[in-house]
Symmetry: C2
Subunit: 293 residues, 2 copies
């Protein structure tokens, strides 16, 4: 596993370099917009989506630079969703990764605008990448579709709608499939689109991303309940544990563990069908399953 950690950290460092390069070329007015735009992008985070995208690109025989801009765009979309999620009207989180959340630092109005700006600039980047040709248009369109009203936002709207309501397995699955899994699907499948890989390769990667997303959210929810989140630097929102739908409340802890193992197996089976050396994604999958230990 230490080889995996080393590779993960290297890809993560590569992403930070790419992101800094992007941010160094950007200067926004007014200064509050410039600061709030940078703040949430640089506040840290595990960079799961860019790392997955880079690893997938390398697995397919490509280079990080082929998807670097799209990885920045995807992380910007992820970041905007966290800013808006943290707002009082949503999860009401004062902290994000151990730092004040955007609205605590810049005020609610500027936080809303910082989120809007990140989402918009993600598509400025995507549209710029479209000039590289049709495969990039397909990749950018995948990012947009999975982030939007039939993707992540649908999951967020359902998550918010069912807060405090009697939600069951169907609702939980809808939320996670959209809110979490769609962005993971983009991360792993974008390189297949960029390289114009066969449809069955793209389909396998999308299916892998979907199941990895489910696994990711299940173990996230289990970590949440076991109180291990604080150790990872995340501070839980005031009443979040009570009101949010969690795998543990829907399925119970025991079934959660079984389901996580099931999704992990599914992921590994899908990877085994790929005609590529995919040990990093295998290790990543196992890491997600075992991270609460």
């Amino acid at each position: 596993m230490s080889e995996f950690k080393g590779k993960f950290d290297a890809l993560c460092a590569e992403f930070e370099r790419v992101l800094d390069e992007y941010l160094n070329a950007v200067s926004l007015e007014p200064s509050v917009l410039d600061e709030s735009f940078r703040y949430s992008l640089k506040i840290g985070g595990k960079r799961v989506r860019p790392v997955l995208m880079f690893a997938s690109a390398q697995m397919l025989g490509g280079k990080i630079s082929d998807v670097a801009a799209l990885a920045v765009a995807l992380e910007m979309i992820h970041t905007y969703s966290l800013i808006h999620d943290d707002l009082p009207a949503m999860d009401n989180d004062d902290f994000r990764r151990g730092q004040p959340s955007s609205h605590k630092k810049f005020g609610e109005g500027q936080a809303i605008l910082a989120g809007d700006a990140l989402l918009n600039q993600a598509f400025v980047i995507c549209l710029d990448e479209c000039r590289k040709g049709r495969t990039y248009i397909n990749a950018a369109a995948l990012i947009a579709a999975n982030a939007g009203a039939r993707g992540m936002i649908a999951g967020q709207a359902a998550d918010l709608f069912y807060q405090g309501k009697d939600a069951g397995e169907t609702e939980y699955e809808f939320i996670v499939r959209n809110k979490t899994a769609k962005m993971i699907m983009s991360a792993v499948a974008v390189p297949a689109y960029v390289y114009g890989a066969d449809d069955n390769i793209a389909a396998l990667l999308l299916e892998y991303g979907k199941n990895l997303g489910m696994l990711f959210q299940l173990t996230d929810d289990m970590l949440d309940v076991s109180g291990e989140f604080e150790k990872l630097g995340k501070t839980i929102g005031k009443d979040e544990k009570e009101k949010k739908i969690s795998a543990v409340s829907v399925y119970g802890a025991e079934k959660c563990r079984q389901m996580a193992e099931h999704y992990c197996e599914l992921c590994l089976k899908l990877l085994a069908q790929l005609p590529y050396e995919c040990s990093f994604l295998e290790d990543f999958t196992r890491y997600v399953l075992g991270r609460d230990k």
Copy 2:
């Protein structure tokens, strides 16, 4: 002027038809997202940006259908900006066009997500249009740039930042140039990009859009002060008049009127340089100048 009104209404009706066609093909989950997404798009509004885009396309010898999807995208961006602008943390407007604003109808969280969804789906449309070729990529990139952190959002962030502060002409001009004019620039110049018109044609239309945007905001601010807004179906936010920067507070009513006339003249001069029959845009410009009478 009645011929102008007839043409305006016809282009507006054409846009409603295009928008309905788009919305009829869309079905979102959960239902609260579907409803909030449609609600703000169909709540009315003058459809200034789509009408300008259609008129510009026709002036350049093209068809409405060439830019119909991009007009929907632009109106979706405009609509999301109004939803987020109306939020308590921003302008705190309970009403929009005589109807409850999105957050009053669906709650703040869902309103934030409805705005996010509209912005995101605008770029789903733009990326789909990119498949038509390079000129469409250029047009979509213009929309994204002018809506974003160096366009409309920069203006909104500055507008919010200077609320209640001692803002002068420089600040006011920055706000209007970005918040209002950039979207108008997209509306009139997108067809030039789509048709691959000469650079000087695109430049003239961008400059026209910039000055029309200034004129538009100046007369908006004057209408605001003269209390004529209510007649037009707009309800002013609780303390908006007091705290928001307005041309009237910055320049005084007399200079506002002179400036509006100046921008109107500039617009007409720019149109006169175009090798096209542009009586509709001329009439539109004069209409904006005279609409408080």
